[in-house]
């Protein structure tokens, strides 16, 4: 399977100790709208994500998990509270600094619409490096592509690739820049079971062997079992935190938030 061979091939990523926190937030609050129409999507969340840790964020629809991820990635600005990413506080960063941070330290993998349709797979993969004006390590690109089994698809455009191949191109793009943090939003949502499992195993390895911090939002309890810990949200708050989660424990906590007692 491609994912099993992926991570030994990935070149050294700056190793960081598990204890140091790569992403953290403090009293994070996000309110949309004003007055009666106001909705508090994230309501006072404080947590941290250690370097090399794979965290799954779960919760029923509307629990605020996607908003939390956007806040942590600097894609949205909190109403209150603070986020720091890779040692940098996001508060007060201008668009330029935020963009650079995203480009250099953060990778994104998400369910659909991952790629620019007019660029080839290879052009999509090297896009962040080219935007940064950094040279592309061809050897490394070839190794990543080979391990993802897309080496022969690099010249194709997204429309000529299957959904799984497109997702792997997006993974290759997220990994080529050696990001410290990878945010994944329902990464297996559009994949068949086998491909989805392989992707999750790959993310697990990225955390364990390359010390990358993985933060994944998912609906799928089975997917969350690949994570080191699971954060379960409800109504914008952290409801439960599970370490080394098993499917049954996740299911029972989810059941408790979905069906209020």
């Amino acid at each position: 399977m491609w994912a099993a061979r992926l991570f030994p091939n990935v070149a050294t990523v700056t190793m960081q100790t598990k204890s140091s926190s790569m992403v953290s937030c403090h009293h994070l609050r996000k309110r949309y709208g004003t007055g009666d129409a106001a909705v508090v999507a994230v309501d006072g969340v404080s947590t941290s994500f250690a370097a090399g840790e794979f965290t799954a964020i779960m919760g029923p629809s509307g629990s605020g998990k996607t908003t939390l991820m956007h806040l942590l990635a600097g894609l949205d600005t909190p109403t209150e509270g603070e986020v720091s990413l890779a040692g940098t506080s996001l508060t007060g960063l201008d668009d330029r600094a935020l963009t650079d941070l995203r480009r250099d330290r953060v990778g994104f993998i998400f369910q659909a619409f991952n790629l620019l349709p007019t660029l080839t797979a290879e052009q999509n993969i090297v896009l962040p490096l080219r935007l940064a004006g950094r040279p592309v390590d061809r050897g490394r690109l070839q190794r990543i592509a080979a391990s993802l089994q897309i080496a022969d698809r690099l010249g194709h455009r997204p429309a000529e690739l299957s959904g799984g191949q497109q997702q792997r191109v997006a993974v290759a793009r997220a990994l080529l820049t050696e990001p410290s943090v990878v945010f994944a939003d329902e990464p297996t949502g559009a994949l068949d079971i086998a491909t989805g499992r392989a992707l999750l195993a790959g993310l697990q390895n990225a955390a364990r062997q390359s010390g990358q911090t993985i933060i994944m939002v998912t609906h799928d309890a089975a997917a969350a079992t690949y994570a080191d810990r699971v954060l379960i949200m409800a109504d914008g708050r952290l409801w439960e935190e599970l370490r080394a989660p098993r499917l049954e424990s996740i299911m029972s906590v989810m059941a408790s938030v979905t069906v209020p007692s």
Binding site: T66, H70, L75, D76, D95, R96, T99, D100, R102, R103, D104, F108, F110, F113, N114, L115, L116, P117, T118, L119, Q123, L127, P128, R130, L131, A132, R157, R173, D185
Partner: protein, 814 residues
């Protein structure tokens, strides 16, 4: 990277950029065509001016102080000089052909090597009575080699000449004499040549020979190296094509403006379609500036392709235009720098037009790449502040235009026009967007298809409004030009009719007029003629030109054109030029004594246009007065009046043809005036029609593009409509209604703006000299409306076909 990304977008969707490329092609094409036309015709005219100097080595110029007809002969004795050819020139009137006109007669050097053209048909002239003519001159006169013509210089006796040859000189100057002839030096016997052409035995010693010749010449004569002289002659020759070039530039500016609107709109649509792509680019680390650079790079690519194509097409068109006017004798001439500037302007306009859409792209939040939101949310119509700013500008503009009309000030009218354009560009899109809601409601009454079309127009009001703007700009300019030129013509016609009671007339210098000429004049359709007898008279001199003849009007003619003559009691009335009264310090109605037929005649002097608008300065009185006084009169003139609204050009041509057969007469009256301004107004009218064609093409592309994109966007909606049982024809009708609504709304707005602006322009331009006549050019306005509907239907064809190809099932799947 930026460029690669932009290029990949261009390659992936070349069709989308078609409208942009086409708009740039048109705009750049006009610029390049204007530049090519100007430089090619200039080169042709320069060549014409310099041609006689290109075969000589030295040119001698005699100043006004030289009066010896043989001044050039001394040059022959200077060592190193091989040949000396005096250069003569005369301006004469030509008679005997189908037309009559002034001609330039130049001498042909006796030395064959100094002749700068060859005779294509016939022979070189050898005797005084022989001439060679320019091929075009012969065509215009309707004669061939072997024809006999009469030349008359000034008031001298006509000289008969035979055309013995013709030459194709490949040019026709836009100004100056109508015709060109070449004669042997003997034709000019007695003239003092203004110049002489010399050749030398040794060109290496040319400077020394120039000096030597210069010293040998009498005072007032200068000797110049012929190369330098021909350059000087060419540069002195300012082309007569300036007016045309200015008009063409105005044309190009309009094409550029309309293009910018179409391009901006197309990019707006492209960017809103690509919101998720833009967001993705931002998400993976693209800076705002990088995002906008992608859009601008795309604009630059499309702009460059369009501008280069346009420049190539424009050069071809410009050359063709110069060829049609026969002023391309110098071959294709184009300044590469100017051409590069045209291309740069085209590219620059595209990039400028893409600026706002590019800025809009930078405002896309990166998070939108992660969200499942609608690709393009229809932007609500907002921008009250913009509307207010635009309206303030509009009110100012209307004020300034009003002032311009009242004060008949052209600069003020121009300033008002600029203000108006600025105000409209700001306010009109919003105004149109607001208008679309009621328009959509109105359309709902015309059935389902029209209702759906209306709702779509309303939903994308902003986008629709900017597409409409291109139509508005075009329609406003076309109708403005058409109304201005129609009203201008009407104003000039009315003014000429008022100022020239005699529409057309011919007269001799005092000899009895040829009966055949009188007959021919009487035969001209639409002209009521009368023979006028005149008598020599001596007026008290006024310093200014003073009348020398008195015309005695027959009673019938006097009744029609000079009712003031029939006043009874007191001295008989004599009509004199107003300028004569002023110069003499006389009041209207003052007594005036004129000597005629050997006796003093007492008159009451009245100022009248009749006295100086028939081609002669005259005193005009009634026939009975002179008969009663026993003054002998001779029939010397034929005066013709025409009913109002006559065809000036036809009449001028007919009278000219009559005059061509009688060397003794001169043409006078209203037909001799107004030709230049009429020509300009005709060009203006033609231009407005040409502009119609260009605007139709640009609007067609812009609207087709807009509808095509909206069909793609609404693919699911269309499929759903089909699934629910909407027939293909109805979908097609829906798209067509959308297109026609855009073109009609734009055209009506354009007419509403263009007509008053055109009228203000006319009033400001001619209001001071003449009472403005308002003429709304209905045929042109009708044509513009028809063109609007046709353009709308044509623009909807391709998008409609795409809409009907959508399978009903597509509406049911994601």
């Amino acid at each position: 990277m930026i460029f690669a990304l932009a290029w990949s977008q261009v390659r992936a969707h070349p069709g989308r950029l078609l409208a942009i490329v086409a708009a740039v092609v048109l705009a750049t094409g006009f610029l390049a065509a204007t530049a090519t036309f100007a430089s090619t015709s200039d080169e042709g005219l320069r060549l014409t001016a310099a041609a006689p100097l290109t075969t000589a080595d030295i040119v001698l110029d005699a100043g006004d102080t030289v009066h010896d007809p043989h001044w050039y002969r001394a040059a022959a004795g200077v060592p190193g000089v091989r040949s000396v050819d005096p250069q003569y020139a005369r301006t004469v009137s030509v008679f005997g052909g189908a037309r009559r006109g002034s001609a330039n007669v130049q001498s042909i050097p006796a030395t064959p090597s100094v002749r700068w053209f060859t005779v294509d048909e016939g022979t070189w002239p050898t005797a005084a009575g022989q001439v060679v003519a320019d091929r075009r001159t012969l065509t215009d006169l309707g004669v061939g080699v072997g024809a006999r013509l009469d030349f008359r210089q000034g008031t001298g006796a006509p000289v008969a000449v035979v055309v013995v040859g013709s030459a194709d000189l490949g040019f026709r100057p836009l100004t100056g004499s109508d015709y060109r002839f070449y004669a042997a030096p003997s034709f000019f016997a007695g003239d003092t040549p203004p110049a002489a052409l010399l050749t030398v035995t040794d060109r290496d010693r040319l400077p020394a020979t120039v000096d030597a010749v210069g010293r040998a010449m009498p005072a007032g004569v200068t000797a110049t190296d012929a190369v330098a002289a021909s350059d000087a002659a060419a540069s002195r020759f300012a082309g007569g094509n300036t007016q045309l070039v200015v008009l063409m530039l105005a044309f190009a500016a309009v094409a550029l403006l309309a293009s910018i609107l179409v391009i901006a709109n197309t990019f707006q649509v492209i960017v809103s379609q690509r919101i998720r792509q833009v967001a993705l680019l931002r998400l993976v680390g693209g800076h705002r500036r990088q995002v906008s650079r992608v859009v601008l790079a795309e604009a630059a690519i499309a702009g460059t392709i369009g501008a280069v194509l346009g420049a190539v097409a424009g050069v071809g068109l410009g050359y063709l235009g110069a060829g049609l006017l026969d002023i391309n004798g110098g071959g294709l001439a184009i300044n590469p720098i100017v051409l590069a500037l045209c291309v740069l302007t085209g590219v620059g306009a595209t990039v400028v037009a893409a600026w706002a859409p590019a800025r809009r792209a930078t405002r896309v939040a990166p998070v939108r790449a992660l969200q499942e939101v609608a690709e393009a949310l229809p932007a609500p119509v907002r921008g009250g502040r913009r509307l207010v700013a635009g309206l303030i500008l509009l009110v100012l503009a209307v004020g300034v235009l009003g002032l311009a009309a009242v004060g008949t000030s052209l600069p003020l009218a121009l300033a008002g026009g600029v203000l108006l354009a600025a105000g409209l560009l700001i306010a009109l899109p919003l105004g149109i967007a607001l208008l679309l809601s009621p328009a959509a409601r109105g359309l709902e009454r015309f059935g389902v298809a029209a209702g759906l079309a209306g709702s779509n127009l309303r939903q994308n009001a902003r986008r629709t409004a900017s597409a409409t703007m291109a139509v508005v700009v075009g329609a406003a300019l076309i109708t403005g030009l058409a109304v201005a030129s129609a009203s201008g013509r009407a104003t000039v016609e009315a003014d000429l009719e008022a100022r020239y009671p005699v529409a057309a007339g011919v007269h001799t210098d005092g000899a009895a007029i040829d009966a055949r000429t009188v007959q021919a004049m009487a035969g001209i359709t639409g002209l009521t003629t009368a023979t006028v007898a005149t008598a020599t008279a001596t007026f008290p001199a006024a310093g200014k030109p003073t009348p020398a003849r008195i015309a005695a009007l027959p009673a019938e003619l006097a009744g029609r054109v000079a009712p003031e003559l029939s006043v009874s009691g007191g001295d008989p009335v004599l009509l004199v030029p107003g300028a004569y009264l002023t110069a003499r310090g006389l009041k209207d109605g003052a007594p005036l004594t004129v000597k005629a037929g050997g006796r003093d005649l007492r008159f009451t002097a009245r100022g009248s246009r009749l006295a100086d608008t028939t081609g002669q300065l005259l005193g005009v009185t009634s026939g009975e007065v002179l008969t009663a006084a026993g003054v002998r009169t001779v029939p010397t003139a034929v005066w013709g009046t025409a009913s109002s609204g006559f065809d000036r050009e036809t009449l001028a041509g007919d009278v000219n043809a009559v005059a061509a057969r009688d060397a003794a007469v001169e043409v006078g009256g209203g037909v001799t005036e107004g030709g230049d301004i009429m020509n300009v107004l005709s060009i203006l009218l033609g231009l407005s029609l040409g502009m119609l064609a260009v605007t139709v093409v640009i609007a067609l592309l812009g609207i087709a593009n807009l509808l095509g994109l909206s069909v793609i966007e609404r693919g699911r909606e269309m499929a759903l409509l089909r699934a629910l049982g909407t027939r293909r024809g109805r979908l097609r009708a829906m798209v067509a209604v959308e297109a026609v609504t855009i073109t009609l709304v734009g055209t009506v707005a354009g007419i509403v703006i263009g007509v008053p602006v055109g009228l203000v322009g006319v009033i400001a331009a001619v209001g001071r000299q003449a009472e403005p006549v308002i003429m709304l050019a209905w045929p042109q306005l009708g044509l513009v409306l028809v063109a609007a509907v046709v353009t709308g239907v044509l623009a909807s064809l391709a998008p409609a076909r795409r809409a009907t190809r959508i399978a009903p099932a597509q509406g049911l799947v994601r």
